[in-house]
Symmetry: C2
Subunit: 265 residues, 2 copies
Amino acid sequence: MSFLRGFSLIFFLGVLVTSSFFSNVKAHEYPHSIHLLMPRSGSAGHKIEGLNCLSWRLAVETNNLRDWKTVPEECEGYVGHYMMGAQYRKDCLAVTSAAYDYVKTLSLKKDGNYVWIFDIDETSLSNLPYYADVGFGVQPYNATSFDEWQKEARAPAIPAVLSFYKKLVRLGIKIVFLSGAHEEFREPKERNMKNIGYYKWEKMILKQPSESHLKSVEYKSTHRTKLEEMGFTIVGNIGDQWSDLIGANPGKRTFKLPDPMYYIG
Amino acid sequence: MSFLRGFSLIFFLGVLVTSSFFSNVKAHEYPHSIHLLMPRSGSAGHKIEGLNCLSWRLAVETNNLRDWKTVPEECEGYVGHYMMGAQYRKDCLAVTSAAYDYVKTLSLKKDGNYVWIFDIDETSLSNLPYYADVGFGVQPYNATSFDEWQKEARAPAIPAVLSFYKKLVRLGIKIVFLSGAHEEFREPKERNMKNIGYYKWEKMILKQPSESHLKSVEYKSTHRTKLEEMGFTIVGNIGDQWSDLIGANPGKRTFKLPDPMYYIG
C-alpha cells in the first residue's frame, strides 16, 4: 500500500512535468491519462514470457534487440509512464549535455564547413501526443493515422534538443535535418519545425519517392556521404534510432536519444 | 516514510537475489553491505551538477558518454544498488536471451567453422566482489589491487552468460575468449574460468606485452580480423564495453552487456 501511494505521488509529479513539456501545445488538446488509454483487448499486442520491461528497454537502447515490430503488450504501462514522465526528458537532456560537452572540445576554424546532422521525428520534434493515443507503440504502425498526424504539424519540440540546436547555430555550425519522412510531407514538416523554434537550416533532406525502397541505414549513409563529398565536415549526428547513427560517414561523434516506442532498421 | 519502507523491502529482496548470484562463492567471503562500503571522504570522486544517475547510466550504456574515468561520486549508491540487486542480473539475462533468439535464426552448416567471441571481465566472469570493495567504480582504477584480485582467481560467473556459453557449445559453435587482460595472468584467468564452468574453448586470446600500447578497439579488431583470415566465421560477439563490439569484423551480430562501473576505449 505504501508503495502505491508513493507511486501515485511520482505519477502526479510526472504529469506536472509533462504538462510543462508540451508548453507550446494547449493543455486541453491532450487530456491524456495513461491508464485510461490502455486498451484492454490485447488484440494488437504480443507477450513475452517472463519479460522485465526495464531490461527490455535497455536492450532496445543498446541495439541488442533489433527489427522488433511493436512494444510488448505487458510493457505498455511502463513505456507510457517513462515517456510521459520526467525520466524521458532527463534522459534526453543528459544526451544533449554530453553532446554539448563534446562540442566544447572542438577547435572550429572560422572558414570551416561544419555540419551537425539532426534526425527529425523523436529527435528534433516529438510525436508523443500521437503515440499516446495509439498505446505508445503497442499497436502496429499505422501509416494512415500517422500521416494524418504529420499533416497537422502540431508536434512539440523535444526541449533539450531545441536548446542544443540553438547553441550549435550560435557557434556557426550548420544544421542538416536528415529524416526518413517522405518528401510529400515537406510543407507540414517545415511549418511544424519553424513553429516550434527551428528557425533555420542548411538542408532538410527528406526521402524521395525514388528512395522509398531503401532501408533507413542505406538512405542516411548515402546522404551523409554526399554531404562529405560536397565539402562538409560532419562533426556530430544525433538521432533516436541506431540506423541514424551507423553505416557510412556517421559523423565524428554520434548521440543516441532514447526511443522505446518503435524501431527503424 | 512510506517510500523508505518500500525501498528497504526492495533492497532486502535484492540482497536475497544477490546471494544466489554468487552461488559458487562462499557467502561469508563477501559480507558486503553497500551502505557500509561507501567511502564518505569523497576524495576520489568527481561531482557533476544536477546529474540524474539513471540518465548517466543510460548515456554510458548507449555510448553517448565516452572516455570517462570514474563513476560520478553521487552515483555510487545508485550504481552499487543496481549491480548488487536483481536488475543487473535481469538485464544480463535479457541480453543473452536476445543473443540466443538470434542464434536460433542461424542456418548452421555441419562443416561450418563458426565462432562466438566472448569478452572475459564483466562478460564471462564478474569482478563485482572486487568492485564492491572499491566503491563500484567511484575510485580511480588501481592496477595493483586489481591484479592482486585477478591472481586470486575467485571471480564468479555471470550466470546468464555461462548458460548462454553452454548452449553455444552444445550447438557446436566454437568459443573464442578475447580479453584485454594481460598474458601474465593467463594461468589464474584460465583456472578461474574452468572453476566456474567454462570448461572448453577454441582460443583464449590475451594481450601480449608487444600489444600493450594498443587501444582496446584496435587490439580486438586485429584479432577478430586474424580469426576471419584463418577461416572462422564470427557469428556473434558479446561484451560489456562498446570497444569489444565496434571496429573491424565485429561479428554478424553484437550484444552489449551492462557495465556502469568502468569504461575502456
